[in-house]
Subunit: 465 residues, 2 copies
């Protein structure tokens, strides 16, 4: 690539300041494809980074993707597929023959090849595996034998391991002398004769050390090993906590079987952190490329659960129909009490779910957290109660009504604060993902308690219009 | 460190299977501190990784932290502070003299030193800067001159840059011959005489190449450069998109001024992705170590905004007091319509906010996204309307009521779907963070539309008890 074609210069016409493909650029490519002008389409797409080509396919309407793929087929390599959204990729892969898929997979490290193959139907998977050469096939079959979302699926088999008696010079000569070794690695693992990792050596340390020094004296013995069956979320937290660039993956016998690098982890960290937003809202995976049928089903399930809880809350209102019939203003004000409790509960819930997910809230500090949230809820409840009490008195001039709504607001806020901590903490102890199911419980709690405390107090107090 | 002390063996008594400190371990340390048994406390804490020592302080009640810090003061190095939560660190740092802080900072790379110093009061900051030696001081002062949360604050000045005419052998000799160079780097930057980066070379490529080859032939010319004033969220997205391990930071003249490594980015990726959960819920930063006063203020602000919108929604109910007085059952059912709209709106909102944050939703596919969410909302609204309509008919035997509630449910769901896309997309175009303010607008919309459509249709239809 000559200097004139440096991507810094190019990207200005393709990408906006946030590294997103410009709509004009996407349209230009799709117009060329539609006009049958394959040459222009290719020329436009060719300078793009594989991640941007993947984005281009995601931004292309589904019905135009096959045409685009046809026009730029020679640019569609394994790296592009590895970067692509699962659903978009599946669509494109479906149109390829098993041999073509096998060709793509064989260009990639095991982890990326597995990502492409793991979502296929079993029949297609078998056909692709048959088309691979025996080495790649064995590596991918082994990866597929580990549970989904485990370290075994994430890891690549391509890594550099050297015996501890080697010197730095031996290791460098080995790397220079063996064409077939991987070129993408950031650390070298030092292993004992049983192939168990005993140390890790950053490449920078090797480069700064004279050839004659033993690897055992350069490597670091404290290392963070990843068990092959560890869940990817735990792997991500471990990379984050210990600031790892790469890590050795070991089998149950402690033998080195693979390597995970941080570039495969950043996607998971982002996904897992973003998942909580989506799960708390009951939006499933929230993948915008998911077939609409699946999205409707996921969201519907959650909405039906919520319909059930809304009916429970509304049955509480039903208990007080008599009071409401004589004093309709209560119906006007009751959504304020339940809604504000819901807002306060959601605040606490979001904080607690994040604190659990990031390992900041553990059994060591749960009691402290409950007390903290109770104090916050009491303070906010008292302030909100006072505000709404004063407002109600000013607007409606009814002293009794303003006392009742203020008291109900305080009660419901404290309920929200308590529920917002205890529900997710309890679910987490029961090994249920607190992000998925907490919101139902907490909003049911704040709705019912909001209606019950307000309408109940009003009835007890004998309020009437 | 002898083999017997390998952390794999040790950590079992300290960490649970999720790498969290065990409550028994935390108690043991704190009991020793309280009993004045400094030796035991030190012996327990000493084998911990800096990240775990930082966690230990976070899990220790605030009033006991000073005692713990005193007991293990010699283990409290810069790395521990760099890993610590901002608020917990500030507390501890406040108890140190400027010279002690300067000693800690001088052990660290610029980015970590800046993280410790940037949160201090201006007076204290000046005192610490005075206590640093001139080189460190200049580097930190320069970093502080960049905006908060920009690449300039994140980058470290310690990096390896070599001229393009050097061979691989020249570079290795340079690294071996200069003690003072940094040891933590993953790539070498090749620069022109004006110190502008013209290529990046992974260390693995250098190690696999004979000494005589020119660096210019090993390096990759396409490189992702980070402008020094880029926001950290954009930096994180760029690292993620292009799977970077490290990247050169350049000033406005294109000259190499620093380096950002991915281990500093993983925290940001996780924070930024998690922030959306907290912001959508109106929980501010959601930092559980924040002083309670600040937390109450942040959440209160949001709750008062919500109180305002709840009053708007309730004023809609107020318009229909007459209808409710004659038919109190409407008050029982109306929270179902508004609540279900709120749930559906929240689902769409969460999906859209995540899609915007991850650059999946851009102006290229906004129209498609609106149509997609409209279809989902219509499908879900029709199904939920049918369900609630049938349920209402079965329970209350009122055909007109069941038609009205079914129609209102459909109307409110479609409103929720439209609002859930259009509100965040519009805010984003106005450069307002959609995660912060969308929820207020969307729930106000679904509450008011829920009440208005249900009570309005009931009134038009002339429903009565």
């Amino acid at each position: 690539m000559s200097e004139i074609e440096l991507p810094e210069a190019d990207t200005e016409t393709q990408l906006d300041e946030d590294d997103r493909l410009k709509p004009e650029f996407v349209s230009a490519v799709l117009d060329a494809v539609e006009a049958g002008d394959t040459e222009t389409a290719r020329a436009l797409v060719e300078p793009l980074h594989p991640a941007d080509i993947a984005d281009l396919f995601e931004l292309t309407p589904r019905e135009d993707r096959a045409g685009l793929a046809h026009a730029v087929s020679d640019l569609l390599d394994g790296d592009v597929f590895a970067e692509m959204n699962d659903y978009v990729r599946e669509d494109l892969i479906d149109a390829l023959t098993p041999t073509e898929v096998a060709d793509l997979a064989s260009e990639l490290d095991t982890d990326d090849a597995v990502a492409i193959i793991e979502d296929m139907d079993e029949d297609e998977q078998r056909a692709v595996l048959r088309a691979l050469d025996p080495d790649d096939r064995a590596a991918i079959e082994e990866a597929l034998s580990y549970p989904e979302e485990s370290a075994g699926r994430l890891m690549q088999r391509e890594l550099i391991a050297v015996p501890e008696h080697w010197t730095v010079g031996d290791a460098i000569d080995y790397l220079r002398g063996h064409e077939e070794l991987t070129t993408d690695f950031w650390e070298i693992f030092v292993v004992d004769p049983a192939h168990k990792p005993i140390g890790t050596c950053q490449l920078s340390w090797m480069l700064r050390t004279p050839r004659g020094i033993a690897m055992a004296d350069v490597m670091k013995r404290e290392q963070t090993l990843i068990p092959v069956d560890m869940d990817q979320e735990e792997v991500a937290l471990r990379f984050q906590k210990y600031a790892l660039i790469s890590a050795a993956v070991v089998d149950n016998g402690g033998r080195l079987v693979g390597m995970i690098t941080v570039d495969d982890i950043v996607h998971i960290i982002s996904e897992e952190a973003g998942e909580d937003t989506l799960r708390l809202a009951g939006a499933g995976d929230g993948d915008i490329n998911e077939p609409i049928r699946l999205t409707v089903r996921t969201r519907m399930t959650w909405l039906i659960v919520n319909l059930g809880t809304a009916m429970i809350a509304s049955s509480i209102v039903g208990l007080f129909q008599g009071t409401i019939a004589t004093f309709a203003l209560l119906a006007v004000l009751m959504p304020i009490v339940s809604g504000m409790g819901g807002n306060a509960g959601t605040q606490t819930l979001a904080v607690v779910v994040r604190a659990i997910a990031t390992n900041q809230l553990t059994s060591s500090n749960t009691r402290w957290m409950v007390l903290r949230e109770l104090r916050i809820a009491a303070a906010n409840g008292a302030m909100l109660g006072t505000l709404i009490g004063i407002g109600t008195f000013v607007i409606f001039g009814n002293r009794d009504l303003s006392i009742v709504i203020a008291a109900a607001m305080l009660i419901n806020n404290v309920t929200a604060g308590l529920g917002g901590v205890l529900v997710p903490v309890t679910l987490d102890r029961m090994n249920v993902d607190p992000a998925v199911s907490s919101a139902v419980f907490v909003t049911t709690l704040t709705d019912t308690m909001g209606f019950f405390s307000f309408l109940g107090l009003a009835t007890l107090w004998g309020l009437h219009g």
